[in-house]
Amino acid sequence: MEAPLLHLALVGTPNSGKTSLFNALTGSRQKVANYPGVTVERKEGFFVTPLGRQVSVVDLPGTYSLRGRSPDEEITRDFVLGKASGEIVPDLVLCVADSTNLRLTIRLLLELKRTGRPMILVLNMFDIAARRGITVDVERLAKELGVPVVTSIAVRKGGTADLLALTDEISAKLATEPQENSWRALSVSELRATQREADRIIADCVSLPARPDTWTARIDAVVLHPVGGLIVLALILFVMFQAVFAWAQPAMDLLKSGFDALGELVKATLPDGLLQSFLQDGVISGVGSVIVFLPQIILIFLFILLLEDFGYMARAAFLMDRIMGGAGLHGRAFIPLLSSFACAIPGIMATRVIDNKRDRLTTILIAPLMTCSARIPVYTLIISAFIPAKDVWGFINLQGLVMFGLYATGIASALAVSFVIKFFMIRDYAPAPFMLELPDYKMPRLKSIAIGIYTRAKMFLQRAGTTIFSMMVLIWFLASFPQPPAGSTEPAIDFSLAAIIGKALEPLLAPVGFNWQIAVALIPGMAAREVAVAALGTVYAIEGGKEAAEQIGQVLATKWSLATALSMLAWYIFAPQCASTLAVIRRETGSWGWMAATFTYMLVLAYAASLVTYNVAVALGAG
């Protein structure tokens, strides 16, 4: 008879090497999902032990105790206690410790023991401990703790062999009857007592030559210098921006021409008609317009994972904490918001580095206000058509100044919204104080970076294949039906539901100076913001669409007033109508409500900004 699947859970403090161990055990046999209802990533993987036992292992969020002070930590607690909905109680808990720093993990282990779950203490990073002259009396430690202890080096080939052997040995004789669970949240005095007990055991079993990591001290002297540190951070960000905007471009162009060619192929092989239009305009260009962001997403995650693995992320949070704290943002929100300048989708996905639910939610809600690259085509079109390319104060180009103003307004509104959320909306939730371990620097590992990027890219593509795909189909449908009557000369879109909706929306949009053509363009613009440019082209019956951007500009300059153009720019600072961003928000927050809230607040802001801009401009004579 085959033994049933053995369920393991990895528990430990942050940075103890749980994820590395998880990767070492499972390789790429991993499934990443979200826990139902919460935004916490759930990572499960599979492997087979040397004796042939099938094992499933779950990488739980790092925690210092079982008290569950954040949604992540609640997951860990509930999982270990077997209270998580739809989860199986783990057969064996692997308590992962950083061998160079045992105090906090041994205390956690003493607390974990009360749950009665069978457990192994994994002394990970044993290579680093050995290098620093730390010696551990493993047998004595096991005896004093009453728990089997094994050493491991998660990042070295074969570094988990002992752990695998021990897992086989223990799983063969696991008691079938459940153990007594006497766990309850520790009081402050119990916590102290447990820490004393842990310190006593460590004093008995571990010799610490107190040789701190000199590399970490040396790097931190520069990187955490109050001024020098900010300069280093700025340099890193500069390289990241360069990478995302410049290095990703060739790959994005390649993908884009690939999709264009595919579209052309469909156009050439299929007869004109609905099927052709569905495949070319709905599926290929719709889904394609999202997939072209894949290179940017890979690059952003490459940077994020490298910095995280190296141990720099905690430092960036340290440097930015007070600067961002004024607006109610957590230091850790910094990198995700930065990524959102490329595209809000990877930015919102990157908020997973924020472990506090409230802070993460605030960051997700404001991420779409960072000016993403998809707004650039719209900005460029309108600015070049309406803003004269003259110099102000002798040396600043007016067009560039307007562009900068649009970016700055986006950032300022993001900070303002975060401020409002902090003070009016999520008041009852205790804001996370900034308390963060600054881990010793480690050389990033190619394998874990590769696995990290692979799982993220896979998730992104899966999403593009499901949610985004269905949105695109809906939008294509609206823009294509009903079909124009035979022999009509106006653009087909004039007869579509999109146009009907556009005309119905016109009275609503008239106060901000938008005509029905703009209203219509905003609808396919939902697929991806820059599609609005092509849509305006279609609506104004111009052949060539996006390729003839300059020509569209000329037409717009004759059809729109300056006030309308400025109003359109103001609208696009907020531009709520990006279906993919909304889909990601829905997915990452696990809630339709937050998606609706984001859409609504951005719509209100867009409308208000356009209303003010239009009316001020008209009053100043630009109508």
């Binding site: 210092y64 002070r69 906090l104 904490d321 007070r322 104080p433 900034f434 963060l436 371990e437 600054l438």
Partner: protein, 91 residues
Amino acid sequence: MTDHDDTRPHMPLGLALRGYTGVIQHLSTKDTDSALSDIELESRLIELGFVEGARVEVLHEGLVGRDPIAVRVDSITIAVRRREAMAIIVA
């Protein structure tokens, strides 16, 4: 080490400047204006290793208001805001 401690005035870690080294005497969460409740703050500090007798050293300070601070606590480095560090009484 205790004689050394007696001769030094007790002060909150939240007031210590870069380069300060000392030993934690006790935790006193009452007068801090942290957003956390007293018990929650005390628990979190203990969980990060801020317990009586631990050696601390202020390694780094942030730019704005010298906040937050990076503190060496025995064998690890923890970043905290000065507001929360006010609860840690050192000497």
